[in-house]
């Protein structure tokens, strides 16, 4: 066995599992229909989930990346939407933890650890995978930057108190001209735009953001001008570990429903679990889930030890996302007609899983990353 969690990690895993089973999982279907659940998120905040990765001095519980991965993994077994929201919150607040000044950390990390959801926004309507193609601008005027532009597909848009916004301080030098800013909700000119009507992950709120002469103090520049792209890429490395954890958790939920169904459903005189076609599909799910878990926790360990993990995190995401999609498709197939019904949940899992191949680094981009890294090594 490659992994042995510490006593603290096991205790946190137990608590997250119990909380998920009792509070989160029963609401997943409702969130699919009605969207982000504020009451649930109040409970999530009260029970200290937001602060798991942050140091105790900022109000967090001082957990490490493995503890974060354990948490996301367990939550994803109850709701991929909730896991994604927490992943996106940590992704955003993490940028301040790693690149912020002490003043910025003191001002913002306590909020992130206790009661405020954060969001990270790079993508724009015309620039997703081509992140360097973003067009939002940030112009230094006296002691302030003035931000203009539109952001798209912001996870946690509309439910966050603080946004990490990527915009160009220099439009002539491609990705090297991107800088990162901390923008508070309610800043004049900063508005939440259209809410996306998504295929899945509907318990997670995703919106456009519109910036019209948004004045942000110089103090809210994160890192130096031009650091934005690097900050974003480092943040996404961590987030991709979370996607691995979500993939494994979601696929496990799909497999559980498929297994229970296969053991009970009788066709041709016996449970369909006795048929090899079903056994092979379940086997593929079990193999894929185990591989994804091992890759995810191994990558989390690399991050915990301060090792570079860009290629590894990309591999986790590509593999995990595609495994989750296939597992959910097979779960529907095992359930047959019932799998096509919302009552049996697996169709919702498939709709949730599709996002994992797209957001936080599309599989194609990540294959480019892994392929070129491999070929140059």
């Amino acid at each position: 066995m490659l992994f042995e969690f510490t006593e603290e990690q096991k205790m946190i895993q137990k608590m997250v599992k119990e909380f998920t089973e009792n509070e989160i999982a029963p609401l997943d279907e409702k969130m699919d229909n009605e969207g982000f659940n504020y009451e649930l998120w109040d409970k999530i905040k009260e029970n200290g989930f937001l602060g798991i990765p942050f140091p105790e001095q900022y109000g967090g519980s001082g957990g490490d990346p493995i503890t974060s991965a354990i948490t996301i993994h367990e939550i994803a077994k109850g709701s991929a939407s909730v896991a994604l929201t927490l992943d996106a919150h940590w992704l955003a607040a993490d940028t301040i933890l790693h690149h912020g000044t002490e003043t910025q950390k003191e001002k913002y990390l306590y909020k992130a650890a206790t009661d405020t959801i954060f969001a990270f926004s790079l993508t724009e309507p015309m620039a997703g995978s081509d992140a360097a193609g973003i067009q939002s601008t940030a112009v230094l005027t006296g002691d302030e930057y003035v931000l203009n532009g539109t952001k798209a597909w912001c996870t946690n848009g509309g439910v966050s108190g603080v946004y990490i916004i990527l915009a160009k301080t220099d439009v002539n030098i491609g990705f090297k001209g991107i800088s990162a800013f901390i923008v508070e909700e309610g800043t004049p000119g900063f508005t939440v735009g259209k809410k996306e009507n998504k295929m899945g992950m509907r318990g997670s709120n995703t919106t456009e953001l519109v910036m019209n002469d948004v004045k942000v103090s110089k103090e809210n520049l994160l890192g130096k001008e031009g650091d934005g792209f690097k900050i974003a890429m480092i943040a996404l490395d961590g987030a991709r570990i979370s996607i691995g954890a979500i993939s494994a958790g979601l696929a496990e939920s799909a497999m559980k429903i498929a297994k229970n169904y296969a053991n009970q459903r009788v066709a041709f005189g016996k449970p369909i679990a006795k048929l090899q076609a079903i056994q092979f599909m379940i086997a593929n799910m079990a193999i894929g889930i185990r591989a994804t878990e091992l890759m995810t926790f191994d990558c989390a360990k690399m991050k915990a030890q301060g090792m570079r993990h860009t290629k590894d995190a990309a591999m986790v995401k590509v593999f995990g996302a595609e495994m989750a999609m296939q597992s959910c498709k097979d779960a529907i197939q095992i359930l047959g007609g019932n799998g096509y019904s919302k009552d049996y949940h697996v169709e919702r899992y498939l709709r949730d899983a599709k996002l994992l191949e797209i957001g936080e680094g599309a599989s194609e981009v990540l294959r480019m990353l892994v392929g070129t890294t491999e070929l140059n090594s």
Binding site: E7, M11, M15, N47
Partner: protein, 260 residues
Amino acid sequence: MKIVVCIKQVPDTVDVKIDPVTKNLDRTNIVGVINPFDKNAIEEAVRLKEKHGGEITVVSMGPPQTNESLREALALGCDNAILLSARELGGADTLATGYTLSRAIEKIGAVDIVLFGSHAVDADTGQTGPIVAENLGYRQITFVSKVEVEDGYVFASRTLENGVQKVKAKLPVVLTATKELNKPRYATPIKIMKAAKKEITVWNHLDLECDMDRIGLKGSPTAVTEIFEPKRDNKINMLKGSPEEIAKALVNKLLADKLL
């Protein structure tokens, strides 16, 4: 206020499997958890401390893996944890367990309130709390669904089969908690991390200066000889008559079988 909570680690299982050879619970692959009603006891202790100040010590008798449950109790808000563990203490029934726990409470000293869960979900006797109360000479109020403390008295409501009884008792008191008493909180990650670093005190029969005839197997006048699943009788009883007559007959049958 000095509070002690006594907890038991029980198997976490809905599917009880009986070993056909030993005729006892098959404990392979079973994870230990805090007895559910003990969680209500811990929660009430924490609420009392939040209201009146003081200190909570959680105590449990069991093998070393009981420490997991004690740590969880610390993470839920208890201040100190004590494990009572020794080979000599093993094999104890409720009488021997109750004696050992009361020795520990006497050693802690000056305890105002002792909280138990109403019963453990594995053995289901509900005897240990009352036995401890008798050993200590404390007043006892069992099956409490509401607790208030004022001016050295406990005011409690007891959930009984036919109604609710209100009781007033002078401290020190032993209380046993029902699930109606409160909704246990979750341990937060910060509290878990702090609890993981805390030291758990271990006392054995020598630390407790136990009478060797009253502990462990020797101190247990009762023993479990067999656990078996009740035989299911699939006989169907058809009730005849008008809807009113059938309803009356059904109610009478349920009352006669003590199901209502």
